[in-house]
């Protein structure tokens, strides 16, 4: 405790503490979301899911999985581009952690705050696609290549609606800072006219995360695991980590943008953020349990024929609303 107090006195110490807290949150979020996905999917499919690891409803399943992955042989295909191959998982994970740093988990509880933190968040979360491209290209596997290219194609489809939907929120709130956006939202109607934007944001974030029904880049029944096909052991775990943590990260971003972030009656703010982000994560898992995957060209069509025009209309509508009232 003493040590913490001492650390908290210096600027570097505070930075270190923040870093530890964010990393801790990142890892815990991964475990919790991973476990939730196991369990929620299982129960939606009339199963029980993990029940043994850790005795109580298999709560330690993901830890056990992690330990197992640690022991696995580290395989790098002979034809693979070694450096790029090894670096790719890191490229996927780091942006996720950087996203966690900017999200205001409670009032004044962001890793760092900035006036343009919204755009920082959107920009940083898009970088992970580069990691996927690297993984797919470096693997020297046809399935990986197809997966990586699908991933790149998907980026074009969802990134614009995602940014436009977020921009409408920023416009309405009159602030590009995540904290400012939360402060500007009117309760209890937290969506406050951004229902359409929320819907678009949800779709686009699922596309970004490659979640069913938009999981074409890793479609297991078509191209094995896409860019991840050749990955094993710890490197594969990093991809999984990025997926689960990314789900929660984007869900938290969605909660901040559309659902009033930490604001809510009764409980401390952090809890509200977590609950709202958890609810959005549940919806993503729920979608995965329900829907088949759509086709890449159908996604493109949907994005350009529906989502982009809709989000543009949403943006203009918001602007008009803002001007008139």
């Amino acid at each position: 405790m003493e040590g913490v107090v001492v650390l908290a006195r210096s600027a570097w110490g505070i930075l270190l503490l923040k870093l530890i807290a964010i990393l801790g949150l990142y890892l815990v979020a991964t475990l919790v979301v991973g476990y939730a996905e196991h369990k929620v999917l299982a129960h939606m499919q009339a199963r029980l899911g993990p029940m043994y690891a850790g005795r109580f409803h298999g709560w330690a399943q993901l830890i056990a999985d992690g330990l197992k992955f640690l022991q696995k042989e580290d395989v790098i295909p002979r034809a693979a581009d070694k450096w790029v191959f090894s670096l790719a998982p890191v490229m996927v994970v780091v942006p996720g952690i950087m996203l966690y740093a900017v999200i205001p988990w409670g009032k004044g509880l962001a890793g760092f705050s900035s006036d343009v933190s919204l755009f920082y968040a959107l920009a940083i979360s898009a970088i992970s696609v580069v990691g996927v491209l690297m993984a797919g290209w470096a693997s020297a596997n046809k399935f990986s290549l197809i997966g990586a290219l699908r991933s790149a194609a998907q980026l074009i489809a969802y990134e614009l609606p995602l940014v436009l939907a977020a921009a409408a929120v920023a416009l309405q709130a009159g602030s590009a800072s995540l904290e400012g956006i939360v402060e500007a939202q009117r309760l209890p109607f937290i969506l406050a006219g951004q229902e359409l934007g929320f819907f678009i944001f949800l779709m686009a974030s699922m596309a970004e995360l490659s979640r069913t029904p938009l999981d074409m880049p890793i479609a297991d029944s078509e191209i094995i695991a896409g860019a991840y096909t050749e990955y094993t052991g710890m490197r594969y775990v990093l991809f999984l980590l990025a997926e689960y943590a990314g789900m929660f990260g984007l869900a938290a971003l969605g909660a901040v943008l559309f659902l009033g972030g930490w604001r809510g009656p009764g409980f401390p703010g952090v809890l509200w953020t977590l609950v709202k982000a958890g609810a959005l994560t549940f919806i993503m898992i729920w979608f995965r349990a329900t829907y088949p995957r759509i086709r890449e060209d159908q996604l493109q069509k949907m994005a350009w024929a529906w989502l982009v025009p809709l989000s543009l209309a949403n943006l203009m509508g918001t602007a008009a609303f803002k001007l008139l009232f």
Partner: protein
């Protein structure tokens, strides 16, 4: 083929998964919760060694030749002085390679002396293929898992042995006789169940006792079931009565024999 605005179809799907989510799941947690398998379940083949006469019918019926039988002949000294000594087959080895076995059950069906049985036991997996070759000691131990056979569904033709066992004794109090056999309607259910469970509740005495079929069996029927050889006696009363009626001696003898048989069965059925 564009994607229409997500509509009712998508929402219905969400409803299905949510409904399932809120209901209890169907998973059976196996090692903690053992499944209760039906009596006919083809889990493992058990051997009742005393019944085996080394006739090799099972080994011959097996489609993949996974039954290994070794035996030698033993000379049994005659019971009475002057009689011929008899030879008898003694089982040395009876092994089933469950790594090869297809669990078809042809051996169990082929066995004429009720030495092989199915048991709904399945927890004998091993880490090595070699260990799946089970010798007669193990097969004998599995006899403990052999359950009594299920009674049959309504409208089924009951096995003759069960029917004979279920037939009530002829007494003035109860004159009506249950349907003898075949398609003529429901049989005495309670009696059948009793007979079925009576035969072989204890793991040792498992097989329902099969007796000689009543009516002269055609050649195929004889081939199917086991025949116990037994000294057949004669009902003296019936014989005398028949002779007095003037029936030929041969017919009278046959009737007396069958009357004796019936009595024997009734005696056991009670």
């Amino acid at each position: 083929m564009g994607l229409r605005v997500p509509g009712s179809g998508l929402l219905k799907g969400l409803g299905v998964t949510l409904r399932t989510f809120l209901r209890p799941s169907v998973t059976q947690e196996y090692p903690d919760e053992k499944p209760s398998l039906p009596a006919r379940s083809r889990g493992v083949i058990a051997l009742k060694e005393e019944n085996c006469t080394v006739c090799m019918a099972c080994a011959r019926a097996c489609p993949d030749w996974c039954i290994y039988i070794e035996s030698h002949k033993e000379v049994v000294p005659p019971k009475e002085p002057g009689a011929r000594p008899r030879t008898r087959n003694v089982l040395d080895r009876f092994a089933i390679d469950f790594a090869l076995c297809m669990y078809c059950g042809l051996c169990v069906e082929a066995c004429p002396f009720d030495a092989l049985f199915w048991a709904p036991y399945f927890e004998y997996s091993t880490y090595e293929v070699k260990q799946l070759l089970h010798e007669k000691e193990t097969l004998g131990r599995w006899m403990a898992y052999v359950p009594p056979p299920d009674p049959l569904e309504d409208g089924a033709e009951q096995p003759k042995e069960l029917e004979a066992g279920a037939r009530p004794a002829r007494s003035p109090a109860r004159t009506e006789e249950p349907a003898r056999r075949g398609p003529s309607g429901p049989t005495d259910e309670a009696g059948v169940r009793e007979a079925a469970s009576g035969a072989g509740r204890a793991p040792e005495a498992v097989p329902p006792v099969r007796t000689v079929p009543e009516e002269a069996p055609g050649e195929p029927k004889a081939a199917e079931g086991a025949r116990e050889h037994r000294e057949v006696g004669m009902d003296e009363e019936v014989y005398q009565a028949e002779i007095a009626k003037g029936t030929p001696e041969r017919v009278a003898r046959a009737k007396a024999k069958s009357a004796w048989m019936r009595k024997q069965k009734e005696g056991r059925g009670e």
